[in-house]
């Protein structure tokens, strides 16, 4: 009888542990089957990332459509090469889309915003977005403004 209640308690303990793990996975880290879904890679080159980091958000009209999966330096052009994973169900990004690095709020995280163009061809795996806008560098802007060179 004693042994049975001990077994029961240990079983409940292990279930609690599993439950906590599932809670951490789903509710806390937002791990869903969605985030593991199929994606395709698109590249873009930027002159200045301005603090964009790995796993940063890629959004279209404010909706997350992918994430930054790799950042490297392109040695030939001295610019930053960003690899993005775009969810497969967003398969109609036009070939002339524009990628720009923006800031959520005044001081928030950097993310890549994509705005689509009017081309009839769509981006597929391995394609590159040529039209890019670098991060808005607040310090440079203020510096330029202070020295009266800014074109307002």
């Amino acid at each position: 009888m004693y042994q049975r209640s001990v077994e029961l308690a240990v079983g409940v303990f292990m279930l609690l542990g599993m439950g906590a793990l599932i809670f951490l996975a789903l509710q806390v880290s937002g791990l869903t089957t969605d985030s593991q879904k199929e994606s395709y890679r698109v590249y873009a080159q930027f002159d200045d990332l301005g603090g964009l980091s790995l796993r940063g958000r890629v959004s279209l009209a404010g909706v997350t459509v992918g994430k930054v999966s790799a950042i490297s330096l392109d040695k030939k052009s001295y610019s930053a090469l960003v690899e993005m994973e775009i969810y497969s169900d967003v398969d109609n990004l036009t070939a002339d889309s524009v990628a720009s690095i923006q800031t959520s709020g005044l001081l928030g995280d950097k993310y890549v915003a994509i705005s689509v163009g009017a081309d009839e061809e769509y981006l597929t795996d391995g394609d590159t977005i040529f039209d890019t806008q670098s991060a808005l560098n607040l310090e440079k802007l203020i510096g330029a403004f202070a020295s009266g060179q800014a074109k307002l």
């Binding site: 042994q3 001990v6 077994e7 308690a9 240990v10 409940v12 303990f13 292990m14 609690l16 542990g17 439950g19 906590a20 793990l21 809670f23 951490l24 996975a25 509710q27 806390v28 880290s29 937002g30 791990l31 796993r55 958000r57």
Partner: protein, 259 residues
């Protein structure tokens, strides 16, 4: 001259004790009988090591989460970003406080009890008499305790983190009025499963190994007198705590150093 001699002797003793405990660990790891009987012993020890530590873990987790929520809110509200309190609570708990505080509490609650129990069995010749009966005490006494501690620690750490996040929510959402959706969504966007949750669990697995190892070795290797038991129990808590904090820095540097 005397100093050099003493240093040499101390380091030799240290090396010998490390070697002894290493061999001891290996025998404890592979000593668990994979039979119904062995499983029963394991379950009994899981009860004493894991289940009985549950209350202190849950209560501490709840309070630490609540304190984090309160502190985080009071700092973040100055920058108008009190929505990020969920993110702060969760990252702190999952990456650091969950594994570390659990390991420290574990060393105090279960580790010291393990050392004292094994030490008492040694002092009252129970281990010797088991050997004389042709039963290997490493298999019968040590191995189930080692595995129980090793398995319990990650479970306890995960429960600690989950309860802490819940406690943080109690304070920041229900009391201080942070929007609940923001609490969770900020958390979800910043906590990575592989990067944060899994690394936290890896930490607690390492801590589980080290704390249990220290506890059972101190118990098995102590001088079998009442004074020896009290010294070994103290040693268990001190060594475990220091190892956990030192290893935590090392693991954090390896896991999160590049970010």
């Amino acid at each position: 001259m005397e100093f050099i001699r003493r240093t040499g002797r101390t380091s030799m003793e240290f090396a010998a004790s490390l070697g002894r405990s290493g061999v001891f660990l290996l025998r404890a790891v592979f000593g668990l009988a994979l039979s119904l009987n062995g499983l029963k012993l394991l379950v009994a020890q899981m009860y004493r090591i894991g289940v009985l530590s549950l209350i202190i873990i849950v209560v501490s987790g709840l309070f630490i989460g609540m304190v984090l929520g309160l502190q985080g809110y009071s700092i973040l509200v100055d920058y108008g970003s009190e929505q990020a309190v969920g993110q702060m609570v969760a990252l702190t708990l999952v990456r650091e406080l969950g594994p570390v505080v659990t390991a420290l509490l574990f060393a105090g609650r279960a580790g010291s009890a393990l050392t004292a129990e094994i030490g008492l069995m040694k002092a009252t010749e129970q281990l010797s008499s088991m050997e004389m009966m042709g039963v290997d005490p490493l298999r019968r006494v040590i191995a189930p305790r080692f595995w129980a501690g090793f398995i319990s620690m990650p479970l306890l750490a995960v429960i600690f983190s989950a309860v802490g996040i819940f406690g943080g929510m109690l304070v920041s959402v229900d009391w201080l009025g942070v929007f609940e959706g923001a609490y969770w969504s900020n958390m979800q966007s910043s906590v990575e499963f592989e990067g944060d949750v899994v690394n936290g669990i890896v930490k607690s697995v390492v801590f589980g190994l080290v704390c249990t190892w220290i506890a059972i070795y101190q118990g098995y290797d102590l001088v079998p007198t009442s004074q020896g038991i009290s010294i070994a129990t103290t040693k268990t808590v001190v060594y475990s705590s220091l190892s956990v904090l030192g290893l935590d820095f090392l693991l954090t540097a390896v896991m999160f150093g590049s970010i």
